[in-house]
Structures are given as structure tokens and as C-alpha cells.
Amino acid sequence: MTENSDANLVAAALKGDAESFSRLCEEYHPVLVAIAFTRLADRDLAEDVAQEALLAAYRDIAKLKQPERFAGWLAAICRNIAIDMARARQKHAESVDCSPTGSRSHHESDIVALVREVILELEPDVRDIVYLRYYSRMSYSRIAQVLDISEEAVNGRLRRARERIRQELQRRAPTEMDL
């Protein structure tokens, strides 16, 4: 979906067109779940946050001064709700606190779990990019639009994230990974 089509849908939604708003919901719901998941590491909670974000957007859509920036505005709402929820929770994600696993042999599922841990250790804004790129399969330009940053920033942060993952894999599972 392009900025223009977003803007058209938002404009229609502002006039009370539920169909248009539902299309925006449909488009962004998975993206919001991904963004919320990077803060909460809990799929159910992430879905709840995504719904709340859509609800808040519905409520406050009249405050959106630039309809073409709907994606970034909506993502920011979602991020803030997720952060509020994360703050209120006790330290929860085992993966965040996972300690290095030494030099034991890793099976494939272990490697995936290890990478998941490393991703959850990344800075939250970098996590967003990783999930939007790999889970939501979004282009760099689309990620830039949703996160309201430049494409160069997306490229740079994603490159650094990959490098960090690679290094951690080599450190934590050197016998299995030769990346």
C-alpha cells in the first residue's frame, strides 16, 4: 500500500467510511502485531496491543494532520501502548535474560532459538526493523515510512543487526555456525 492510497483511505475514514478504515486495519494489523511483539515477546499480548492501537487510531484519527503519514502515526501509537504494557509487566522474557550457552553442540532449533534471543537483545528500534523486514517482509522504503526514518537508517541498522547476530552466533555456537 502506498502513501497515496493510505492518505485516500484515511481521508475517507475521516468522513465516516468504515470500509476504508477496515482496509487500513487489514493492512496494518500484522505490522502492529510485529511492532508490539518486539516489545513484549508475547504473541497474544502483541495482538491485544495491535487492536488497542487500531482502536486508539479510530478514536483519534481527527488529530492526524497529515493523512499521508498515517503509517508512522499508527506505528507510534502501537509502540507507545506496547511500551506502557511492557513497563507494567514484570521481567518476563526468558530469552532476554538468557546467558551464553558455551560451546556445546547446537541443533537447528537451538540455533533459531539462539538467534531469537539475540534479536530480543537488540535495541528496540532495531528489533522493529528486523521484524518488519524478516517477519512482515517489508521493503526498506516501506519500513522507513512506517518507522518514520530514512531508508539509509533502515539499511544501516539492519546491516548492524545482522552483523551482531552473526557475531553472537559465532561466539555462542562456534562449532555449528560458520557465517
Partner: protein, 343 residues
């Protein structure tokens, strides 16, 4: 392994590591429920998330409103002598005042997230009023359910805000009928219950009755998605001399809901020090909201977005119901109830 293969391998692993499963938004279902139904202004107010998401006071209040309390209209004499007499006596009471000690935990945690003492006033004529203080003695809220105007009012002195909404039809009746100690007694006696025997309570001989029947003690079906209470157990302890309830204890757990702040909760509400037929000043049931208090949630409803809001409350209800529908088949019935009971 060459560089290209390394990169592909890394991409593949990251893709798998970030896979949280397919997420779908059922637009057709959402539209069907949103567009084809009339407006529901009352529900929009109740569901407005700014109130419901953050307000522990509202959460606890509504929990209390939905599952607790009540002494009136106890005419069922099918049960044993003690219960029947208690029901008869309670039905004669015009007023009651009690203290409800409320403790709420997030499920899985040992430390409560809320400990509060709430003074609860009930009048068969005026309605219901409660005043809650936290563990530090700070007033956290006053809440009213007013018979004459059929209004629900929640006042938050700390924030100088208030929520006010009308409640019509069956929903008001269901809530208003369960707001006092006798109401709970009535609920318990309406279905299967367990005799708990006799014991001494603060020097008084009491006889207990309990139930965990979900059909007897439950949040009204149409409200479950707001506050999805599960596993309620309730006990009532009746003074064998006066034949009036002296202690009521409820334990319940919840699923995630809008009014639980999307948390799973467990709670204990213990009502004690109940006075029957005390004089309650009529002014106590007047919210008397100071002029500098602001209404919650209505501020965002401006003329500019009135057209949009004209779509009605159903989008919001739809969100909530949609989520539950995905997780529980029976939520379709819940939605139908909501639609049927809204104004």
C-alpha cells in the same frame, strides 16, 4: 561455505527466528458487525479505551459492580431454614453499609497489584455508592450507580476526572440488582450451593454457604468481553441469631479483557463489618462533581470527527468481540447479546 551462502543461511535463520505465526485481520467479519448495526452511544462510552485501559480504579469498580454485593429482593424460600430466613430478612432491609477489602494480583505473581479498602453504601431507593482507599489511605475513587437517573458515575479525585454514562435496559437491571450483600446471597441461593457448616467469626456463630456454579455467579454475558471473569467462588456467612449476612467472600480470576487492562487477574473481595438498615444521608448518593473536574473520554469527541464517530460504537465493540470470537466460538452469542441489549 561461500559468502553468498552464508548470507542466505543467515537470512533463513533470522526469518525463522522472527516467525511468530500468521496474523490475520478478518475484515469481512469486522465490517459485517460494524456496518450493518445501528449506533450504540452508551457502549461507545463504556468501551472508550482511555478509561478502561489504564484505570485500576475502574477495573476494580466494575468488577465489584458486576459480581458483588446485595441485600434486596430475596424472596426465594426453596432452601434451608437459615438461608430462607436470611433471604427474608435481607429483603426487608432498605440500606446497608459494609467494608470490602479488595486484593488483586496479576496471575502468576505473588505480590498484589492492588490492595484497597472500600466502603460500600447501598440503598434500595437511591442505588449504590462506594469509596475506595488504597493501602496508603489515599482516596482512589468514588463510584455511583444511581437508581433514579440510571447513571453510572466514576470520580477520580487524584486526576480530577470523572466518567459518566447512562446504562439502560437489562444491563442496568442486572448490575443494579447485584450491588449489595443480599444480591450475592440471592445469587448463591438461586442455584446449587454447598453448606459450609458453622464457625465462630469475631465471637459470633455463623453458618456458611458457598457456590462456584458459573451459571449462578457470573458477569452478565453481554459484558463478559469487558471483564471476562472466570472461576468465581463465593461464600456467605450468616449470623445464626440475626439471620443476616455478616461476611461475604468472593474469589475470582479473569481472562484478558478491556477492563482488566489486558491482564489476567485473580482477586479476593472480602466484605465485612456489614451494618443493616443504617441511616445513610441522601447527599451521599450525589456525585457532586467539582466544576474543575473534566469528563474522561468525551474530550476526544469533537465536532470535527463527529461524522467519523457517526459510524457508531460498533467498531470498538467489534474489535473486542472479534478478538474473543477468534478465541472462543461462543463469542458470537456474546456479540448478539450486546447488540440486543444496547440502546
Amino acid at each position: 561455505m561461500n559468502h553468498r551462502n552464508d548470507e542466505d543461511r543467515l537470512d533463513e535463520i533470522i526469518t525463522r527466528a522472527t516467525d511468530i505465526g500468521k496474523v490475520e485481520f478478518d475484515r469481512a467479519e469486522w465490517l459485517r458487525r460494524v456496518v450493518t448495526r445501528p449506533q450504540q452511544k452508551t457502549w461507545r462510552r463504556i468501551m472508550e479505551s482511555k478509561v478502561t485501559r489504564v484505570s485500576a480504579a475502574a477495573t476494580i469498580l466494575v468488577a465489584a459492580s458486576l459480581v458483588l454485593f446485595n441485600p434486596f429482593d430475596l424472596l426465594d424460600t426453596r432452601h434451608g431454614v437459615v438461608l430462607a430466613e436470611a433471604a427474608r430478612k435481607a429483603s426487608e432491609m432498605r440500606t446497608s453499609v459494609g467494608t470490602c477489602s479488595r486484593t488483586v494480583w496479576y496471575q502468576g505473581q505473588d505480590e498484589p497489584c492492588l490492595k484497597a479498602e472500600t466502603t460500600v453504601y447501598a440503598s434500595s431507593k437511591k442505588g449504590y455508592m462506594e469509596e475506595q482507599h488504597d493501602a496508603a489511605g489515599n482516596l482512589t475513587h468514588r463510584a455511583y450507580i444511581l437508581n433514579e437517573s440510571r447513571r453510572f458515575v466514576l470520580v477520580d479525585p487524584a486526576e480530577k476526572k470523572y466518567l459518566e454514562t447512562s446504562m439502560s435496559g437489562d444491563i442496568f437491571e442486572q448490575i443494579a440488582a447485584t450491588l449489595t450483600p443480599g444480591g450475592l446471597l440471592q445469587r448463591i441461593t438461586a442455584g446449587p450451593y454447598t453448606e459450609l457448616g458453622r464457625r465462630q467469626l469475631d465471637g459470633v456463630e455463623v453458618e456458611g454457604f458457598g457456590t462456584s456454579d458459573p451459571e449462578v455467579l457470573s458477569v452478565p454475558r453481554a459484558l463478559r468481553f469487558l471483564f471476562p471473569v472466570n472461576d468465581i467462588t463465593a461464600q456467605v456467612w450468616i449470623d445464626v441469631d440475626s439471620s443476616l449476612p455478616v461476611e461475604l467472600v468472593i474469589h475470582f480470576t479473569t481472562d484478558r479483557g478491556l477492563l482488566t487492562g489486558f491482564r489476567k487477574l485473580r482477586a479476593e473481595f472480602r466484605t465485612h463489618d456489614i451494618q443493616w438498615n443504617p441511616e445513610i444521608p441522601a447527599e451521599l448518593f450525589d456525585p457532586n462533581i467539582p466544576e474543575d473536574y473534566t469528563p474522561v473520554n468525551l474530550a476526544s469527541v469533537t465536532r470535527e470527527n463527529a461524522a467519523w464517530l457517526g459510524v457508531g460504537a460498533l467498531p470498538i465493540v467489534g474489535f473486542a468481540v472479534y478478538r474473543r470470537r477468534r478465541r472462543r466460538r461462543s463469542s458470537r452469542d456474546v456479540c448478539e447479546n450486546i447488540l440486543a441489549t444496547s440502546d
